[in-house]
């Protein structure tokens, strides 16, 4: 019998102690510094016998135009952590946050939780965010934003906006995960509200490219 991970609900705001951090403290001191600086959190532990991984549809690379993509973060058995990553190598985008809608096969995997990326410091986060919930079967929606009028630019070419955690249910799965309703504030879009007209309606910045990927288990 396969033991399932501990389900923390769809809206992951708190997380168990990071396995990455524990491992780094015990074994890999150089890596510990990198892990400790990250705000993103992983949810749950993997189940025995399943080895899951994520294959991104596109790398987060400056060889490509600005994009919003899913990138692998870490895996632990059946549990896979993905990063929603924004790539903007010329730092041209001024951002308040991101709304996203992700389609996944809920017969193949469960959504466990989410956490905000380091570009959203907790003292400037819009209250209530990050928020992620499976609105309907296989339809994950979420949002994270800075409280207005705060904004940020991406430095170093790319930034992790959100971390998502999924649990793969069984072996032998190759299941796509993709952004849907792109360039829409009601779906997937980076957005910005002009601080000059601070309380004007935020507008979607979109991205030239959106890239999901495939969850694989064996």
């Amino acid at each position: 019998m396969i033991a399932g991970p501990r389900i923390r609900g769809n809206r992951g705001r708190s997380a168990p102690v990071s396995r990455c951090l524990l491992l780094a403290l015990a074994l890999l001191l150089p890596l510990a510094e990198r892990c400790a600086k990250k705000q993103e959190e992983d949810f749950g532990g993997g189940s025995g016998g399943i080895n899951a991984s994520f294959q991104p549809a596109a790398p987060a690379s400056c060889a490509r135009p600005d994009q919003l993509s899913l990138q692998p973060a870490s895996t632990n058995g059946s549990v896979v952590n993905l990063n929603i990553t924004a790539t903007d190598c010329d730092a041209s985008l001024l951002l308040n946050g991101v709304n996203f809608e992700i389609a996944f096969d809920d017969t193949a995997m469960d959504f466990l939780g989410c956490s905000a990326g380091g570009v959203f410091p907790s003292n400037r986060l819009a209250p209530g965010t990050p928020a992620c919930i499976v609105a309907s079967a296989g339809d994950l929606i979420g949002t994270v934003a800075l409280q207005l009028p705060n904004s940020f630019r991406i430095s170093g070419g790319q930034a992790i906006l959100m971390r998502l955690t999924f649990n793969v249910r069984q072996k032998g799965i190759s299941s796509p995960i993709s952004f849907s309703a792109t360039d829409s504030l009601a779906g997937t879009a980076l957005f910005f509200a002009d601080p000059v007209t601070q309380f004007a309606t935020p507008y979607p910045l979109g991205a030239p490219m959106y890239a999901g990927g495939t969850l694989i288990s064996n």
Partner: protein, 275 residues
């Protein structure tokens, strides 16, 4: 003598604002009597109020009536109304007023008025005790004591009583209510007022909660990030601010604050259509 006699103008009204102590003595009540000031007699010394449950008392001359009356009370020239408490609620009480001058003379009676103290109602329970904003035609059963067929039920601003079934008096009333779509989400007191003004209130007896559809600000039939952005625009703000918007003030308390965001995210992800 033929001195001017005051006129009772407000007739009689039961004392509003009965306390719990009064409610514990349902057999007694209060009445208030008021009269026009005497502006014609320069030597006016005050007024005398006569109270009795026998109307024949007022057929006597005032000095003689004083010996028969259940109660008399002398008040100064600046007083033009008086409350009488602990009156037997099972009786009809008659009132008249006379003027007194500095020489001790007394006028004839004013007009005689009468009333019966209303029993003070009590509100014990309200069922159902909750509704969402925008609910219409909800029947609410109020149980208690001393309700009468002419009782009036009120919930407070934002909730309108559109009908009242009094078949169950004196212990039950069924109010049909409409909750305003932007009624403040909070606990409301339910008050039953009897003719004459005596009333009973149960604090926090009825709670209005936020209608989920209010969080679907863009009416897209899904409560999602786009709706969140609408709230974010007005967070924080108070009524009167340029960026305050009642549509994003989920609990309609005049402030777009953390409570509204918490309410919003409690609905996040819901899919309509929303009523």
């Amino acid at each position: 003598m033929n001195r001017w006699a005051p006129t009772l103008v407000l007739a009689l009204c039961a004392l509003a604002g009965a306390t719990a102590t009064v409610r514990a003595q349902p057999a007694v009540g209060s009445l208030e009597v008021a009269w026009d000031a005497n502006l014609t007699d320069a030597d006016l010394a005050g007024y005398r109020i006569y109270v009795d449950d026998d109307p024949n008392t007022f057929g006597l001359a005032p000095p003689a009536a004083k010996l028969q009356a259940f109660k008399t009370m002398d008040v100064g020239t600046s007083v033009t109304d008086q409350v009488f408490t602990n009156l037997d609620a099972s009786k009809v009480w008659f009132f008249a007023v006379t003027s007194l001058d500095v020489s001790g003379n007394e006028s004839a009676f004013s007009n005689v008025v009468n009333a019966q103290p209303g029993l003070t109602p009590t509100v014990r329970s309200v069922v159902p005790n909750t509704a969402v904003q925008g609910t219409a035609g909800l029947s609410v059963t109020i149980t208690g004591t001393n309700f009468v067929s002419t009782s009036v039920v009120s919930f407070g601003a934002g909730i309108t009583v559109v009908g009242l079934n009094t078949a169950g008096v004196p212990t039950s009333l069924i109010a049909t209510i409409n909750v305003d779509p932007v009624a403040q989400a909070k606990a409301y007191s339910v008050t039953v007022t009897n003719p004459g003004g005596s009333f009973g209130t149960k604090s926090g007896a009825f709670t209005v909660t936020v209608r989920a559809g209010r969080a679907d600000i863009d009416a897209s039939d899904r409560i999602d990030g786009a709706d969140f952005l609408s709230i974010l625009l007005g967070f924080p703000s108070v009524n009167g601010d340029a960026h305050y918007n009642i549509n994003i003030d989920m609990d309609a308390d005049g402030k777009v604050d953390g409570a509204d965001l918490a309410i919003f995210f409690s609905f996040f992800g819901l899919i309509g259509p929303f009523p």
